[in-house]
Amino acid sequence: MSDVQLRDFGWRHAGRRAWAVRGLDLEVRHGERVLLLGPSGAGKSTLLAALAGLLPSDSGESEGTIRIDGLDPRKARERVGILFQDPQTQIVMARSGDDVAFGPENRGVPAGEIWPRVSDVLDRVGFPYSINRPTAALSGGEAQRLALAGVLALRPGLLLLDEPTANLDPPGAALIRDAVARATGPETTLIIVEHRVAEALPLVDRVVVLEPGGGVRADGTPELIFAAYGDKLADEGVWVPGFPAAPLKATSKATPDLVRATRAEVSGRLGPVTIEAGGGEVLAVTGPNGAGKSTLALLLGGLLAPTSGRVEAFGDKRPPHRWRAATLAGRIGSVFQNPEHQFVTSRVVDELALGPRRLGRSPADVERIVGELLERLRLTHLAEANPYTLSGGEARRLSVATALATAPRLLVLDEPTFGQDRRTWRELVDLLAGLRDDGHGIIAVTHDDAFVRTLADRTVPLGAPEPDPLPRRTRP
C-alpha cells in the first residue's frame, strides 16, 4: 500500500529546453488504480520514471515536490515496482525461476524465503511452465508475464506499468491484462500508462489525463472522462473505445499480379504458400505468431530465397532475391517491423535521399523527392535530426517514407501499425489508402484487426490451408 503526492511537480531532462512534465498536482491514495493518459509527449513515461526513483538528481532539473508515502521516490524504491514495454530488456537470467529470484536476492530476502515467494508469484501471474524453463524459449507475452512476476516478487505497494502490452501481439496483450488483474489485490496501488485504452480499462477505476503543456487536464472515473473528452483524446492519438475508423476500401479493380509466390517454402519457418498480389489493392496477411508471416514478407520483398517453390515479380525472369539491391529498391519497398533497423544514415534528409541516389536520380530530382516526402509525412521540421532520436511515431513515418522514396510499385510492410498511437495509425492508413488508389500494390503483415477492417481489400490468413476466395479480383 502506497500513496502518491505530487505538488507542482516538474522535470526537465538535462540538455533539453522543454520540460517533460510541469505544474503537476496529483494525489493517488492507497489501493487506487489509475490510468494515466495524454498525447505522446505529455510526459507520462517521465512521470513513471520519477515515481520509480529512476531519475538521478544529476540527470535533469526538478521543481515542486514528489512524494511516495511521504518519502522522496529515490528513497522509497523498495515500495515501488515498474514494468516496462519490452520483455527482452527486462529478463536478466537464463532460467525463469532464477529471473524471478533476482529481485529478492538484490533486496536481501533470506534465501529460505525466496523460492516459496517465486513459486507463489509465478502461480499468481499464471505462468504455465516450471521454474527451469529457459527464458529464451518464452513467447513475448509469456516473457512479459515473467517480468511482471519478477516485479511482483518484491511486493511493491505501488505498481507502475509503462505501456506493458505495446510490444505484444493481441494474445500476448491479453495474457498480461489477465495476469495484472489476477496478481494485484486491493492492497496494491496501480498506475498504468497505456494508449490502447481498451486494454487497460478493466483494470482501473480512475483516469487522469495529462496536458502536454503541463498540469492535469481531466481527472475522474473512466465513464465521465470519456464522455467529456473522448473525441479530443481520440484526435490526439489515444485509442479511446467507441471511435471506430471509417473503412477505406479500394474503389477500382486490382491490376494484374505484381508478385506471385508458388508453393514457396522456407524450411523451418514457413510452410508452402501460394499467394499473389497486384497493383491497386491492399492485401493483409494475418495469422498467429510463428505462422511465418514475417518470413513471407521477406520472401515477397525479395530479401530471402525460398528453399523450395518459386517467387516471381514484375515479369522478371530472375526471382526477386537475385536482383541487384538498386533494382529491388526501385520495384519493391520493404518496411520492417522495427524502424530503427532500416536507418542507414545520420540525418533524416540523407535517409530519404539515399534510395533515389542509389537509383542514379539527378541531384535536382533527389531534392524534389526528399522535399515532397518530408512535407507529406510531416517530417520537415526534423529534416536535420538523427533518425535514431525520433519518437516511435516519427520513426515509423520516416521508415515508410524511405521505402516510398524510390517510388516502388509494390510495398511490403511488416506490422506497420505496431505500437503506434491512434494519430500515427490514422496517418499511415490514409497514406496507404492513397498509394493503393494511385495503383500501388500493398502487402501488409499484421495482427491489427482495426487495420484489416479499415483498409484490407483481401486477407490471407497464414496457418490456414488455403487463402480466402478472391471475390473482388478480375483476371486479365
Binding site: 524504491r77 523498495e78 529481485g103 538484490n106 534465501a111
Partner: protein, 266 residues
C-alpha cells in the same frame, strides 16, 4: 534466439559436477605453467593427460573437437608464419620453396607452438562446455568473492549476445531493401560492413541501457547485501581438483626437464 540450451556434458560426471570456480581455476593452474617452455614434448604430454581426463568431465570428444575447431585456423596461421619467417633454420633441409628453406628445425618449432595452442586452450574449452554460465557467475560471487555488480551484470549482458546474430541479419536485409549493396566493389563491402556494425552497436547500447535500468528498478543497485537463491559450495573435492591440477602441470614440467626437453621461453 539461436542459443542452444541442450546440455553438452553429462552434469553428473564426477568432474563436471565440481564448483565452476574450481574448474576454471584448475584449467588455469594446469595450462599456465606449460607456457614456460618452448619444446614439443611438454604440451604433447599435457594434451595426452587432458585426453585421459576428458571422460571424467562427461563431455564427448566430438563436442570438444567442434568447439576447438577455430583453433585450427590459429594453428595454420602459426605454421605458415613459422615456415616463412623463423630465424632458426637449423636441422636437415627437407624442401626448398624458392627463398624459403623448410628444415626439421623449423617444423619442430612450429609443431611445438601448435601443440602449445591446443594444450593451453583445451582445458578452458572443456570447462566452459561443462559449466552453466549462471552457475559460473554464482560461484564467482559466492566462492571467489567477485563483485556481484560485475559478475551478474556480465551474465545479463551475455544473455543478450545471441540476439546480435538476429539483429545483424535484419540490419543486412534492411540495407538491401534500401537499395544498398556492395556489388563486387571491395571498398563498398568494407563500408557496408562498417555501417552495419555501427548500427548493431548503437542498437546493442540502447538495449543494454534499458536492461540496466530494469535491473536497477529491481534493486540491483540497492546496496543491500545480496542473498543467494542458488548456493554454490566449495568442497574439499574442489580444493583437491585445484591442487592436483597444479601438481600434474609441475610433474609434466619436471619430467620434461629430467628428460632434457625443457627449453625456457626466455
Amino acid at each position: 534466439m539461436t542459443l542452444s540450451f541442450a546440455p553438452v556434458a553429462d552434469p553428473s560426471a564426477p568432474l563436471a559436477r565440481r564448483n565452476p570456480v574450481a574448474k576454471a581455476g584448475a584449467a588455469l593452474l594446469f595450462s599456465l605453467p606449460l607456457i614456460a617452455t618452448m619444446d614439443p614434448f611438454t604440451p604433447a604430454v599435457a594434451l595426452a593427460v587432458e585426453m585421459l581426463v576428458l571422460p571424467f568431465f562427461g563431455v564427448r570428444l566430438g563436442v570438444v573437437a567442434r568447439r576447438a575447431a577455430p583453433l585450427l585456423l590459429a594453428a595454420v596461421g602459426v605454421l605458415i608464419t613459422m615456415v616463412l619467417f623463423a630465424a632458426d633454420r637449423g636441422g636437415e633441409l627437407l624442401v626448398s620453396l624458392g627463398p624459403v628453406d623448410v628444415t626439421t628445425g623449423v617444423l619442430s618449432t612450429a609443431g611445438a607452438l601448435v601443440l602449445r595452442i591446443f594444450a593451453v586452450a583445451l582445458p578452458g574449452i572443456v570447462v566452459f562446455a561443462t559449466t552453466d554460465p549462471t552457475d559460473l557467475a554464482d560461484a564467482l560471487v559466492q566462492n571467489a568473492k567477485a563483485p556481484a555488480r560485475f559478475a551478474i551484470g556480465a551474465l545479463a549482458a551475455f544473455r543478450l549476445v545471441p540476439l546480435l546474430g538476429d539483429e545483424w541479419r535484419s540490419l543486412s536485409l534492411a540495407r538491401r531493401a534500401r537499395g544498398v549493396d556492395a556489388g563486387r566493389n571491395p571498398v563498398a563491402t568494407v563500408r557496408l560492413f562498417a555501417s552495419t556494425a555501427f548500427a548493431l552497436l548503437v542498437g546493442a547500447l540502447r538495449r543494454g541501457v534499458r536492461l540496466a535500468v530494469a535491473m536497477d528498478a529491481r534493486g540491483f543497485d540497492s546496496g543491500t547485501p545480496r542473498t543467494y537463491a542458488r548456493r554454490q559450495h566449495f568442497t574439499p573435492a574442489d580444493t583437491a581438483l585445484l591442487v592436483l591440477s597444479l601438481l600434474a602441470a609441475l610433474l609434466i614440467l619436471a619430467a620434461s626437464m629430467a628428460l632434457g626437453f625443457f627449453h625456457p621461453v626466455v
